[in-house]
Symmetry: C2
Subunit: 357 residues, 2 copies
Amino acid sequence: MAYYALIMAGGTGTRLWPLSRRATPKQSLCLVGERTMFQHAVDRVLPLFGAEHILVVAPGPYVETLIEQAPMLRPGNFIVEPEGRGTAPCIGLAAVHLRHRDPGARMAVLTADQYIHDVARFRQALVAAGELAGSGYIVTLGIKPSAPVTGYGYIEQGEYLEAPQGFAAYRAVRFTEKPDQETAERMVASGTFSWNSGMFIWRVADVMEEFARQMPDLLAHLLEIEGAIDTAVYGETLARVWPQVPKQTIDYGIMEGARRVAVIPVDIGWSDVGSWASLAELWPSDADGNIVVSDHIGLGTHNSIVFGSKRLVATIGLRDVVIVDTPDALLVCARGREQDVREVVRLLESQGRQEVL
Amino acid sequence: MAYYALIMAGGTGTRLWPLSRRATPKQSLCLVGERTMFQHAVDRVLPLFGAEHILVVAPGPYVETLIEQAPMLRPGNFIVEPEGRGTAPCIGLAAVHLRHRDPGARMAVLTADQYIHDVARFRQALVAAGELAGSGYIVTLGIKPSAPVTGYGYIEQGEYLEAPQGFAAYRAVRFTEKPDQETAERMVASGTFSWNSGMFIWRVADVMEEFARQMPDLLAHLLEIEGAIDTAVYGETLARVWPQVPKQTIDYGIMEGARRVAVIPVDIGWSDVGSWASLAELWPSDADGNIVVSDHIGLGTHNSIVFGSKRLVATIGLRDVVIVDTPDALLVCARGREQDVREVVRLLESQGRQEVL
């Protein structure tokens, strides 16, 4: 039963504006080390799956760049998503492609916009999850929480199932979207909740069955697309059908209501790299608590982040400030307000400021 | 007895970095309205003195730009200062040029890097000061202090002298350089102190007598230069003598020890435009107390200054921050620390960062 990795590379990284843009989204940026986030994602799974068994799904405009960044992958393994409609349609599209290729396949759904420090452990976890999926479970990798973060989804562990490759696997009893602070604290204290990493492992046949049961409208569209794969009308079929596909996330659409869901809590040094705050945790800070990736001169500057381009950045008397300097847009943000970068991007969208989006 | 204005246009405006640079110093910038600081300085005195009676002293590299900015002035009225050596040599150089031209002249020493809101009142004050200088006083315009600022020099008023043009004139009994906070508060509360504006009015003969008495070394150099004016060897004489001239300010070198010094306190809406803080006082602020001269989008931003170039500046959750964005250097500075911009410039000088100075 062949095992495939699917790397979803369609995220926008809105909260990393102004570095992350439509034309240069988060996964194409070198945020940690000298490899892009997408390249890290490929590097992580290449030794385990091999180039032939790695699929990538991404919006059309990104695909060329991604192919350049991962020349070892087969161009035919890149699946174009005409327009972002949430993770459920995205995964469904990849699933029908994979079923067309190998109806008995298992697949690991991964993303290009997370960072994982302990890659060896991550690979072991994928082997374990693949094993469990082989016996018919919809498996999700849970992240052992390090703090009561309110910005993540949580998965509650139920009954102990088994220990593939030595990893404890539990029945997943509930998905809770971004909780309030009190709930988050209670969940973390209980020791029976994991963060939802957005990484899922299953047999293609099992997830298709869930699409059929829970999202029959979406399934109908997916079947129409599947019927056109490897025919001359694939492109026009996809272009015609896709705009009718309902927008939905895989969490709401499938995971929350799926049968036989298992969670494997893992400790792999995971970061969602979702905001300047979480990105900063991946970088070393200096004696003043500053994280500086810039030509910088600072007087009395503490606990600040200076991410520059080619210009000199001088700071005086700052504390807890994030500065992100790009050739055409500058962000200066109080630490603790990093999530609101999304609001700035929304405002710019509403103002039609395409040139800086 | 002819009356001349001397505009000193050699300041560097260090504390307005990164906008003010060696190549584009403060006086060549449009900081208030659409005229440069130098053009404002010329506009202020042109109706009173006439183009023939306005002299400008500036470093060689600036002169061409200044001539372009004030085409009504005579190129022959621009005096080149080979290198900044403080205001005493600068004024001395202009004084010998003026004496060579008109030994009986009076002169008003003004600068190109201040802003004056009430220009009409300023002109009246210059007329009054010129009258007083005509009777042998070394006159200084004092600024009625609006707050106990520690960054200025103060002049103590003594005996009441007379009231030229209705302005009260007093004997100046003491110059106090930048006082501590307590002293500044006491001086302002007393009502008998003015800020030293750096604007002086005197007969050329009187100030030359003070140079002879108080700065004989400088005078000897000035006389050597004076002897070469309008000869073929002027350029080489100036180039040879100037590096030997002692560095000194007119305040320390002449004013503090001068005989017969009078102060005319004036209320003319004066600003030294010395720092981002004082510049901000000249600009209107919005409902959140922000002063914005930029393409700007702000969330929860208060009491801040955003001075941009062509890039978008987004701010989130800031309070009391100064942002100055230029094509090759960016400053982000806590309000209250604006004076320390000078330290940044010193550091850049010590690092040999010519490209951003």
